[in-house]
């Protein structure tokens, strides 16, 4: 079976294709590389040599400043809290609802499914939802960043479909062995669903860490701002970190550009850390969603 014949034009296309895709891949991560290297540089260097990969003068000043500032540290704390508690709430609500919905013989199952699907097509919108949150006295409470998004209808349906695909004999066998519904779910179904649960844990966690919209709507108190809102204040509204910090006025104004870059890095790092774990699962997790059920 010798080599397949390839015409010159095909060879040119292949070469072009490799180069193009390599460039595209590089472009996807290059901004981070520039920002990371910029966060370790001094402001003078950033303004002098716009483009560099390795700073000449390696400086940790920007990070030292961030980690000594109350306001930024507090917002990192808020983000971590919301991400951890929020993800636990998400998983609890999603699993407990998906599990009964996966039972084909459950009375009222279709009605519930339609109820869920309808919310994907049509919703009350920003203002009515805001007023409900206000009536529940959730404004300026971190619960407003957690409860209104407790279930993503899309994720719920994917998890339900996954449960449905588990072998049906499992249920009967477990019941003969004296399992009730709760122990069946806890001891048998959940351990079998680890890959799916891992995918959604990470999806939900990333969603919470990146959430900006809910905080913009529901949180007015700056001491309860998550990191994404703080990031916008510092980078885009150019509120100098000095205004935000409650530090003493004798403090020397730190390098502005590199602080912006360092805050961007801090806002991204957790994602870059979970990404390798995510990557193994998400293609499968996303594709499960395209199976109709």
């Amino acid at each position: 079976m010798g080599k397949q014949y390839r015409s010159t034009s095909e060879k040119i296309f292949d070469a072009f294709n490799y180069v193009f895709l390599a460039l595209f891949g590089l472009l996807a991560i290059l901004p981070f590389i520039f920002v990371i290297s910029g966060s370790f540089a001094t402001d003078a260097e950033i303004t002098k040599r716009a483009v560099f990969l390795i700073p000449k003068t390696f400086s940790l000043d920007a990070y030292k400043f961030i980690f000594s500032t109350d306001t930024i540290m507090r917002s990192i704390g808020v983000s971590i809290y919301v991400t951890v508690i929020g993800t636990i709430v998400n998983l609890f609500f999603t699993v407990t609802m998906a599990y009964p919905m996966a039972r084909r013989n459950l009375m009222g199952r279709n009605m519930i499914l339609n109820l869920v699907i309808f919310t994907m097509l049509f919703g009350g919108g920003m203002i009515p939802t805001y007023l409900v949150i206000r009536e529940l006295h959730l404004l300026d409470s971190l619960n407003s960043l957690i409860l209104p998004g407790a279930i993503s209808a899309f994720n719920l349906i994917i998890v339900k479909n996954f449960f449905q695909e588990l072998p049906p004999g499992l249920e009967e066998a477990a019941k003969i062995d004296g399992c009730n519904e709760l122990s069946l779910l806890w001891k048998i179904v959940l351990p079998l669903s680890k890959p799916v649960l891992a995918t959604f844990t990470l999806f939900y966690a990333v969603g919470h860490w990146n959430n900006f919209f809910s905080a913009l709507l529901y949180i007015n108190d700056p001491s309860k701002w998550p990191l994404q809102v703080m990031l916008r204040q510092i980078v885009m509204l150019s509120q100098s970190a000095g205004d935000l910090s409650s530090m003493d006025p004798t403090f020397v104004q730190p390098p502005e550009q590199s602080i912006k870059m360092a805050v961007i890095v801090v806002g991204t790092i957790p994602i870059l850390c979970v990404y390798p774990f995510l990557q193994k699962h998400f293609a499968k997790g996303v594709l499960l969603g395209s199976i109709k059920g």
């Binding site: 296309f13 292949d14 294709n17 895709l21 595209f24 891949g25 590089l26 996807a28 991560i29 981070f32 520039f34 920002v35 910029g38 716009a50 483009v51 609500f93 407990t96 609802m97 599990y99 009964p100 919905m101 009375m107 109820l115 919310t119 097509l121 049509f122 919703g123 009350g124 919108g125 920003m126 203002i127 009515p128 939802t129 007023l131 409900v132 409860l147 407790a150 279930i151 519904e181 709760l182 990146n210 900006f212 919209f213 709507l217 994404q228 809102v229 990031l231 916008r232 980078v235 885009m236 961007i264 806002g267 991204t268 994602i271 870059l272 990557q279 293609a283 996303v286 594709l287 395209s290």
Partner: protein, 310 residues
Amino acid sequence: MRKQALRAERETRWKRLKRDKWLYILLLPGLLYFLIFKYVPMWGILLAFKNYQPFIGFWKSEWVGFEHFKVFFQNPDFFMLLRNTLVLSLYNLIFFFPAPIILALLLNEIRRALFKRTIQTLIYVPHFISMVIVASLTYVFLTTEGGMVNEFLYAFTGRKIDFLASPDWFRPLIIIQTIWKECGWGTIIFLAALAGVDVEQYEAAIVDGASRWRQLWHITLPSIRSTIVILLILRMGTILDNGFEQIYLMMNALNREVAEVFDTYVYALGITQGAFSYSTAVGLFKSVIGVILVLGSNWLAKKSGESGLY
């Protein structure tokens, strides 16, 4: 006879309910969530037909019918919002929608598994980055005060461009951000569709002497057509959604005339100025058109022989 059958059925219903009581208990938190946070706000839509006064409350506020809609349609802002929303969606459709398809087709032509996997890993990364970070990166690179791009421009042309405050640059920036962030992620579904294409068809085509372009045209594209159609339908439904966060973050006083869309307008009037009823009406107008677009394009897809969404 009939009565008896009915009673028997009721009895079995009761039995089934009793048998599955744990399942129903498990359902409760989820159902409560959907009722409180999804269905109660749907009732709130009635605000659009009332003159809501926070101190009087929802029930006692007076009904005004379609008054808010009339005011909105007569407001010159209406045309600005409609134009900005539609132009952005159109740009998205033309420049962004085909991008993942093309990228997936190019990736599909790569034979070296390691190279392919590496590129995929890289192009998925931006999807997980928050919009705030994307906008922040844009600011840091494009600012006229020491931004990398402007320093470059200055070194070569002696001039700087204020990308962030110029109405001409707003739309291109939005589209470039979207392509950078979501294009790689968008390939997942097309790559899966491409992986499902029968290899024998290609072998047969090669025997018949078909070039790679002909293979692409006659085998590859037809076999992912239904995937493309479904995603296009989904896209149509969100044509009036331009991604609130992204536009809100990129909008400023200088580019507002091209940037303001329905969602940002609802936020500005409702949340920051407290015009609850009026902004609910604007939001409702948007949702209703959105639902009509999804149902309409789904109907159209079915008419033209595709499977559609439902």
